[in-house]
Symmetry: C2
Subunit: 111 residues, 2 copies
DNA sequence: CCAGCATATACCGATGAACGGCATATCGAA
DNA sequence: TTCGATATGCCGTTCATCGGTATATGCTGG
């Protein structure tokens, strides 16, 4: 699972949202670092729907414009949980090794 | 940065290693989940070298076979640190939202 | 009055990392 | 002698993401 996909699932973990709201949520969540393109978002939404990780919650017409709300499915929640556990574990390993490096000074073994 | 790339940097954070050893380290690190293909590894190594994130540490001839050791550069260590911080933060956000969901039961608002 | 911006969904070509397989080479074990 | 482990390297394919464009409406400013 790539970063944008993970962030889309994270956005929907907060509750049902429509596409455009997901783009804004992800931008806020990442401090403006990740700005999902429309192409990326709707492709990801279609793919995740095909994989059964998200579902269409409801559709609304607001100002004669369609708003399609998506929600995380049960298996989507499981996928997000296992993915974030993986991320957390890998980050922990990397940080542990970096700390060990910093202490021993493995890069420049001058002493 | 994608997962395989991150794992290669994490492997080298433990100290200089040659390509094949990185494959094994990554496999061990991930409990056998990620088995880097030769194509993925050496392409990543070349790319990371081009980006200055890793450097060739030394070359050895063991049993008339070449062994090229790579090490993390200073900028590679910085990149790995910021990347793992990002991973940790995103995992924290996702897990917080999942916990909130579990408690309130946002998926099935039956109650 | 209408040009531009925000909202909102959707399509499409290009890019590039990763995948999977293959080639090459040596050594030890079955 | 064939197979598996070690070890590097190449190459075609796949696929998610990127970036741009199209479509449509409502609001705001010059």
């Amino acid at each position: 699972m790539r970063e944008p996909t993970f962030l889309v699932l994270t956005a929907l973990a907060a509750g049902p949202q429509h596409g455009y709201a997901v783009i804004e949520d992800v931008a806020t969540m990442t401090g403006g670092r990740v700005k999902l393109r429309a192409g990326t978002l709707y492709a990801a939404l279609d793919r995740l729907r095909g994989d059964g990780l998200i579902e269409v919650d409801r559709e609304e017409i607001v100002q004669s414009r369609l708003r399609r709300y998506y929600r995380l499915s049960a298996s989507g929640a499981r996928a997000l949980a296992s993915e974030s556990a993986r991320l957390r574990e890998q980050a922990a390993i990397a940080e542990k090794r970096l700390r060990a490096r910093g202490v021993s000074g493995a890069v420049a073994p001058v002493t």
